[in-house]
């Protein structure tokens, strides 16, 4: 049977199965109630709390230069040797390049990060959104953006602008729903597993450490 036939047959079969069962008209429900932050400062505070509860490290800085020594030290302590960033992400590039002297770090390409045994890396990327409700960084493929820094790196450093910070998941979905990019990823802390003896262990497949820098 042709695939097209199978699909219309499935829909027909379901319609027959449903006949006689009256269903109410469905409207797309907005999500249920949730304590809303009132001010911008509340949103930032809520994001920080939730992101840290997810196991992430939150840094708010007046200027990128001010955090370089501390960030450099955190990356060194995590064993990071290579830094990479998307070619077209000016903010991420600037921060990674400025961090090199605080290493020793070397700049590596995405292709190198894709090798089976790359050096320990930190991947830098500007976040599309940050959601306060869940403490999540949202990274999308919108406009051809790469997803590798938050996927392959041992440490993921997400640069969050204040404009990218939203209160709820719904705000983010509403902005992307009309023309959704191929990939929308909510990243909420380091990769984890509890599959062995229910013991929480960090770094199953993705980043072992996640840092959000509010710029």
């Amino acid at each position: 049977m042709e695939p097209l036939d199978r699909k219309s047959e499935l829909v027909r079969r379901i319609a027959v199965a449903l006949r006689g069962h009256d269903g109410a008209k469905t409207s797309s429900g907005r999500a249920a109630g949730h304590a809303e932050p009132c001010t911008r400062a509340d949103t930032i505070a809520l994001f920080r709390d939730r992101f840290e509860a997810n196991g992430g490290n939150f840094i708010e800085c007046p200027s990128p230069e001010a955090i370089l020594p501390a960030l450099g030290e955190a990356l060194r302590l995590s064993g990071v040797a290579g830094l990479f960033f998307p070619e077209d992400d000016a903010g991420a590039r600037q921060m990674a390049e400025a961090l090199v002297p605080f290493g020793p770090f070397t700049l590596v390409s995405s292709a190198e990060a894709l090798q089976p045994s790359p050096p320990q890396t930190a991947g830098f990327q500007t976040a599309d959104y940050a959601v306060a409700e869940t403490g999540s960084i949202v990274q999308t493929s919108l406009g051809g953006k790469t997803l590798l820094p938050g996927l392959l790196a041992d440490v993921h450093v997400a640069l969050v602008s204040r404009a990218a910070l939203v209160d709820r998941m719904d705000d983010c979905m509403a902005a992307l729903a009309d023309a959704p990019p191929r990939n929308i990823s909510f990243l909420s802390g380091p990769s984890r597993t509890a599959d062995i003896e229910q013991t929480l262990t960090i770094g199953a497949h993705g980043p072992r450490k996640m840092i959000a820098v509010l710029v």
Binding site: P3, R6, K7, E9, L10, V11, R12, R13, I14, A15, A17, L18, D22, G23, A24, K25, T26, S28, G29, A31, A32, G33, A35, N54, S110, L114, P116, T134, G135, S136, S141, G144, T146, L147, L148, L151, M169, M173, A174, A177, P180, R182, N183, I184, S185, F186, S188, S191, R192, T193, A194, D195, I196, E197, Q198, T199, T201, G203, A204, H205
Partner: protein, 473 residues
């Protein structure tokens, strides 16, 4: 996976006698139950989200033909190839055809219950594909050659020592009892697979009709890796996973992780829409979506439609006193616990799953925790009635239940029986325990102490306390 639910009682006996399994089940379910309760207490909007999630699921099922047609057309508009399998055989045949057509020899798979249900791995392996499970728990049980025992913690029955021995044997790694080290070993082995696999196979937690999107939630990041790096993505989903729109997703993301593990959100949520766009540096060039019916249309038709609202959180498993005692394998098929006790008889046949609806105390805890308000005890009772109608109950069982109903329906008879039992209890069972019961009733005394009837039944004490005459109602 072939159903083995007929062996439920035998499986249960084995599980009850396995001390390390008992410890593992109690550790997991206890942890999940506590974490769920704490996370819901911290989220005052949970009940409202639950009503909303239940409403959306119900209304979607009532119009599933429309939403499924919309999902298919939107997904195809964005470059996906949508396949439909009426049953498990067709699902296997289609998956094998996709693998052959795409020239795939290595596939990385993230956790999917429906793939387990139709034995997708078997089909891909028969088509010459090496299928590597990438969820750590699934990876462990794949190495061990066992089926999963919990919806979201598939290797819950394995200790660190057993895992390490397995890695020693199958991966040639040195023995360690350090869990962090075991995770590092799995990460190293699986990263190499992710980078060289031609196809990523995933399930779907939700399908958004208005955008044709597939939604996956994971904590490890394996689902994300397997759907970004390989050239081909095969997503397998049962037809009831559809929700109307992307805008409906947040309510389910508030319900699912809290109900499953007590997390406010899983570490990763991926919303995948169509194939790699010309401007995208990575992502699958081909996206195949395999929609599996396998008996669900028939469920939709009848009185069990509510079970199709299930979002596979596992909350009903963790809270269930029967699951807490016998674990997942005893149920004999893909879906354990109360949701499995409803779904298995409906998908695999009532004769196959007849023991399962009876493996419940009908305490109602499952319905209380269900994030989409599935009336599980009612469905279990309906199935018991169906078993009787289909001649699956023995004459003794029917007679016993008739006698029970007759006594329970007449207060005078019940009270007389209680008093007789009380006297007999006092005379014969002096230590307060019944050591032995005949025939079918031996199940109540073989492995445990059955309490002797109390000298004064509760109803008598109640009346006495309130000054009501003994024989008045």
């Amino acid at each position: 996976m072939e159903p083995r639910s007929r062996s439920f009682f035998r499986n249960s006996e084995k599980a009850l006698a396995d001390a390390s399994l008992q410890a593992a089940i109690s550790r997991t379910t206890g942890k999940f139950v506590g974490a769920r309760a704490a996370s819901i207490e911290a989220f005052p909007g949970f009940e409202e989200a639950r009503r909303e999630g239940s409403r959306i699921k119900k209304e979607t099922l009532d119009r599933l033909d429309r939403y499924l047609a919309l999902f298919i057309s939107e997904a195809e508009k964005r470059g996906a190839v949508v396949h439909v399998a009426r049953d498990a055989d067709e699902a296997r045949e289609i998956a094998a055809g996709i693998a052959r057509q795409e020239g795939v020899t290595l596939a990385v798979k993230s956790k999917s219950m429906v793939a387990e249900e139709v034995d997708l791995n078997g089909a891909l392996e028969a088509a010459g594909v090496e299928v590597v499970e990438s969820d750590l728990g699934e990876f462990i049980i794949q190495l061990a050659g066992e089926p999963p025992s919990h919806l979201i913690a598939p290797a819950v029955h394995k200790t660190r020592e057993q895992v390490s021995r397995l890695f020693e044997q199958k991966l040639g790694e040195p023995y360690t009892d350090n869990i962090q080290e075991l995770v590092r070993i799995a990460r190293k082995h699986l990263r190499a697979k992710f980078l060289s696999a031609g196809m990523g196979v995933s399930g779907a937690n939700f399908l958004c009709a208005d955008t044709g999107s597939i939604v996956m939630v994971t904590n490890e990041g394996n689902g994300r890796m397997g759907t970004v790096l390989p050239r081909v993505h095969l997503a397998v989903a049962s037809i009831e996973k559809v929700i109307p729109s992307l805008a409906d997703l947040p309510v389910f993301l508030r319900l699912l992780p809290r109900s499953a593990t007590g997390q406010p959100i899983t570490t990763y949520v991926s919303v995948l829409t169509g194939v790699k766009r010309p401007e995208d540096p990575e992502g699958p060039e081909k996206l195949h979506i395999l929609l599996v019916d396998n008996g669900r249309t028939a469920i939709l038709q009848g009185k069990y439609r509510d079970i199709l609202k299930c979002i596979r959180c596992g909350a009903c498993l963790n809270i269930c006193p029967v699951y807490q005692s016998v674990g997942g394998h005893a149920y004999g098929w893909t879906y354990p616990g109360p949701m499995g006790s409803v779904l298995t008889p409906l998908l695999a046949g009532l004769a196959e799953g007849a023991a399962l609806p009876n493996a419940s105390t009908l305490c109602g805890a499952c319905a209380e925790v269900c994030p989409v308000e599935i009336p599980l005890p009612r469905l279990l009772l309906e199935l018991r009635a169906d078993e009787r109608d289909q001649g699956l109950k023995t004459p003794e069982e029917i007679l016993g239940m008739k006698g029970y109903a007759a006594a329970m329906g007449r207060a005078g008879v019940l009270e007389a029986l209680e008093r007789i039992a009380g006297v007999v209890g006092r005379l014969i069972f002096k230590d307060g325990k019944v050591p032995w019961l005949p025939l079918k009733f031996s199940g109540w005394t073989d492995k445990r102490d059955f309490p002797a009837p109390a000298a004064q039944p509760f109803r008598r004490l109640w009346k006495k306390q309130r000054g009501i005459r003994p024989w008045s109602r």
